[in-house]
Amino acid sequence: MPVYLDHAASTPMREVAIEAMRPFLDTTYANPAGAHRFARRARKAVDEARDEIAQAIGCDPGEVIFTGGGTEADNATILGATRMHGGVAVCSAAEHHAVLHCVEHTRGPIVGTTATGSIDLEHLERVLRDRSIDISVVSVMAVNNEVGTITPMRKVAALVREHRPNAILHCDAVQAACWLDLREVSPLVDSIALSAHKFGGPKGVGVMTLSGGKRVEPLILGGGQERDRRSGTHNVPGIVAAAAALRATDAERASEVARLGVLSRQLEQGIVEKVGEATVTVPADQRVPGVIHMCFSGVESEALLFLLDEADVCASAASACASGAMSPSHVLAAMGVSNSLIRGALRMSIGHTTTQDDIDRAIDVVSSAVLRLRAR
């Protein structure tokens, strides 16, 4: 069995989610918008899934909108807000491209980050104070997908509410669901984006929430599903499985954070001890347990990933472009990490299936690969 250290890219589906979706692939296949018993059965499943998801997020079920993924949820909120209200969007330079490219598309300002990848609050405040910029939406990730940094959302929210009470505060919480209680995040913001396959659900299912008073222009027009906010036939099996996965994630969160917190520190310290020169990108107390990010001077990520892959360890470096080539990380660049360290970046992300054995093997394999590449 390979050691899978790429949970932040996609975490294995939870058994409960697979079981939950099976009947809707098999016997309960109807379109939930139909006017017959099969349809009503599917409709009930979607309604119940919506309730469960709302419960885990801490919002009203009417505020939950199902999408085709986290990227769509971010796009729908950011572009939908600027289309409806005019103006531009704002985000930090360390956001996921699903947000960053939307903000760039609106020609909105990009705020700098701290050395640990969190949004620079002083810079944000300067932008928010600048009355020459018409801001309709501010988008801030709860947890950074590459380096795992947790954003101080309370401080961000306070600034946005003080200076731009009418702007929509959007939170890309795609990497947060496994680590943060979403009920503590949702009251601070107007909208949240989630992606089911990051918490044990299937790919191609996302959730966006939009609090009662806020409106955005729909991105996808058609049959008027999701109260005209997102058209398209419901992905019933996906939605049902997403709800089952989020329920399980929510129930296990506290114990998993504790368990994986220990493993995460072991992994980090174990590698540092064995390879000597390694830069831990974000200190453990500022990041989620799931993402362990390190940079190795004198090592190239592409070469390192190849050796890890050969030794059955799956990890990642940064996001890949359409060709599959690894691009130098824009997150690390925003944090001011030197180019030589960016070239040697490694992201190891752990999750609900990670075991002590995985960590022990990963420490051995990663450190010997780094040492081998440095020996040449």
Partner: protein, 356 residues
């Protein structure tokens, strides 16, 4: 052996991979991501990477993508631009082979424990009469690429494989089609990958350097025309010089980018009987001695040009002086010049044509 095969998404490298598998090697495919800017030539495009990946999947081997964009910019694109500023005529595809395929990639392959790097070039690596490995002309004379891979030195010769070098292009396509590879009928790439077909060299360079206009003068120094961009003028050129119509044919015989100035003359002024080559790469260091004793060689100065007889003399400064047996048209400075043995089969050395 464990072999890393560079797969561009074309038919030659597809068949090279298939051939290595058939020979029983452990094969991994890799596509190098080199050019990150705009392009419409298809090379380095996502669809080429798709083709390479799909072929690898068909063949049941792993496929990787290495991002060498920074190296490509530093070693190929930027020198290409500055060569034009210096009035040279560079060959970027050769520099890409030199610095990317047979340096950066082979270095990476060694680091990762591969025993050899393979490409789909139509050339061979074979022992000469003395048993020394040499880049050898490909079996398909019309497709021979020994000129563009001439720079392999002793170390790289022993680490490189050209699995389709012994086949004709028709055989390569036939094999690809027999294996059902999706690249079987894909046209050969012709162009420099980072220069767009629509904009061409002029548009590419125009975005990176400021063109300088220059007078075109005859042998007596009289101005007979003008060019808008001295950087785009090449020795031997006879169009686009702003010369009056109806006058006898004139050719560029000299470009001085420092003045800047373009000098034109009659065709015979292009002829010369000698040439100096710099940045020489020898297949074997022993060739320097050998050539010092008997310098008879054949010299090729373009990808599909004819190799012409000459005597080559290694100079103390590391360059090589070439004396043609029959006067030849001047070779534009910056072009690659490759020395073959008198049987026109084996590469002895290669370098860059010097100015003057």
């Amino acid at each position: 052996m464990k072999v890393l095969v560079a797969m561009s998404g074309g038919v030659d490298s597809s068949v090279a991979a298939a051939e290595l598998i058939a020979q029983g090697h452990e094969v991994v495919g890799v596509t190098m991501r080199l050019w990150g800017g705009e392009s419409d030539t298809g090379c380095c495009s996502v669809s080429d990477v798709d083709d390479a990946r799909r072929v690898a999947q068909q063949l049941g081997i792993d496929h990787l993508v290495f991002n060498f964009q920074d190296d490509f910019d530093a070693k190929v694109v930027n020198p290409y631009v500055s060569a034009h500023v210096d009035g040279l005529t560079p060959n970027p595809c050769i520099e890409c082979n030199r610095h990317l395929k047979f340096d950066r990639l082979s270095e990476r392959a060694r680091l990762l424990g591969f025993d050899a790097v393979a490409t789909g070039h139509h050339a061979r690596i074979e022992p000469d009469d003395d048993g020394l490995l040499r880049v050898t002309r490909g079996a398909d004379a019309a497709k021979d690429q020994s000129y563009v891979v001439h720079m392999l030195d002793e170390q790289e010769l022993g680490y490189t494989l050209f699995p389709v070098g012994g086949m004709t292009k028709a055989e390569v396509r036939e094999r690809a089609s027999r294996l059902g590879l999706r690249t079987a009928a894909k046209p050969d790439s012709q162009d420099v990958c980072f220069i767009s077909r629509t904009g061409g060299r002029e548009s590419f360079l125009g975005k990176r350097i400021e063109f300088r206009s220059a007078p075109v003068v005859d042998a007596a120094g009289n101005e007979t025309g003008r060019v808008e961009a001295v950087e785009l003028v090449t020795i031997g050129q006879r169009k686009g010089l702003g010369l009056a119509g109806g006058s006898p044919k004139k050719y560029v015989v000299d470009v001085d980018p420092r003045v800047p100035l373009v000098r034109v003359g009659d065709e015979h002024e292009l002829l010369c009987d000698s040439l100096e080559i710099a940045d020489v790469v020898w297949a074997h260091q022993s060739d320097i001695d050998r050539l010092s004793r008997v310098g008879d060689v054949l010299v090729q100065s373009s990808a599909h040009g004819e190799a012409k007889p000459a005597v080559a003399v290694p100079l103390p400064n590391g360059r090589v002086a070439v004396r043609w047996l029959e006067a030849q048209r001047r070779i534009a400075p910056g072009q690659s010049v490759v020395l073959y043995d008198v049987t026109n089969n084996w590469v002895i050395a290669g370098g860059i044509a010097c100015a003057g």
